[in-house]
Subunit: 199 residues, 2 copies
DNA sequence: TAGAATAGAGAACAACCGGAGAACAAATCA
DNA sequence: TGATTTGTTCTCCGGTTGTTCTCTATTCTA
């Protein structure tokens, strides 16, 4: 169902309010947020959203505006942000969904990051490529993982774990491997797929 | 149905706008983008695109210009087979569909091939990777294309076309470029995306 | 060269969108 | 219970936006 601009505004505000308050707003409160002076005008939009299946029908109840729970999710897995060696993952403001081949999905929770930098270039992972990551807290030796170093820097590297140390290998002849103590490294996910767009 | 030049312009702009805004443009906004001063002129083109099945019919709705989402974007595009330099495309027995990110689709007809061999390794295209190809019979210099050589061998190479010759460059330091006469090379498609599965 | 196809300008029209405000009824609160 | 808040319904309005015309210019083709 297609929403008009104002309907979209109102839906966004309602969705936003969900996180901030435990009670739905009254019409008057919503009108104030929207800069309206007439409840009647708002009501028409609320009705349209209900018609569209985005709001539960509210039969006269006060504070009865409620979002429909299972708005059928679009297909795809979330694109979370960028990962660059030596920095935290840079989250993107608006969560977008990205369709990926089923072959890359493992049934576990997965997400997409965009790679910044050339540290994995010898593995054919270039600056600007997208990687599909399976959320996990452990990995096998030789896996390419998203690792959190000292709870602050996120990086994409090939990992080798030994009883007394953890080594992160970049795939770039001009960069050196880094050695850490096991406690300093936290695995956040394992590389499952690569996506690259040409112009 | 074949689009006129202006119709193609408009379609491209609409497709481009999809990524930048969450609401379709109004006629006036589109006119401004196109340098038109009359909504009536635009309307004729919109109608033609609707007729061609590329736009949803908009029954008087404001901001009602909406692209018809192709089945391909929902279900995936066909995986046709393997391509190895020096051999015809090896078709797969049963056609499978593969979901790919919308960003790789151009609205034109696309398909997926699996790459065999290392001839494009310096471009980060490895043996076993999947490539998304847009079906076309022409390309710009520097594009990576699926080219049919002498009507029998298919190959994935970077192309440079000159009036008197066509050069196919592999992206592998240990391989040499090949030079052909224009008539010997037939372009079958242009590289739009790359997919790689890890384990 | 005539005709068709493409492309645009501009005017007039109708529908849609968003809003105001009054009156009413139901829910909630004191 | 009575008063107040809150949701509902209704009519009305104006600007925006899509639609339909007619008219003109340019390009391509038979």
């Amino acid at each position: 169902m297609k929403l008009t601009r104002r309907q979209q505004d109102i839906y966004d505000i309602l969705r936003d309010n969900l996180d901030h308050f435990d009670q739905p707003p009254t019409y008057d409160e919503l009108c104030q947020l929207l800069g309206l002076s007439s409840r009647g005008s708002l009501h028409k939009h609320i009705q349209a959203l209900t018609q569209a299946g985005l709001l539960e029908p509210m039969e006269g109840l006060h504070r009865g505006i409620r979002l429909v729970e299972s708005v059928e999710a679009e297909e795809g897995i979330p694109f979370l942000g960028r990962i660059a060696a030596g920095r935290p993952i840079e989250a993107i403001s608006q969560a977008a969904l990205m369709k990926v081949p089923d072959e890359m999905l493992t049934g576990k929770s997965c997400y997409v990051l965009q790679v910044t930098g050339d540290s994995m270039i010898d593995e054919g992972i270039f600056d600007g490529d997208y990687v599909v990551i399976e959320q996990r807290d452990s990995a096998d030796n030789g896996d390419i993982v998203v690792a959190l170093v000292n709870n602050e820097e996120a990086t994409l590297k090939k990992i080798v774990q030994q009883p007394d140390k953890v080594i992160l290998y970049p795939a770039n002849a001009s960069m050196a491997a880094m050695v850490y103590k096991p406690g300093e490294i936290q695995i956040q996910g394992v590389l499952r797929g690569l996506l690259r767009c040409y112009l």
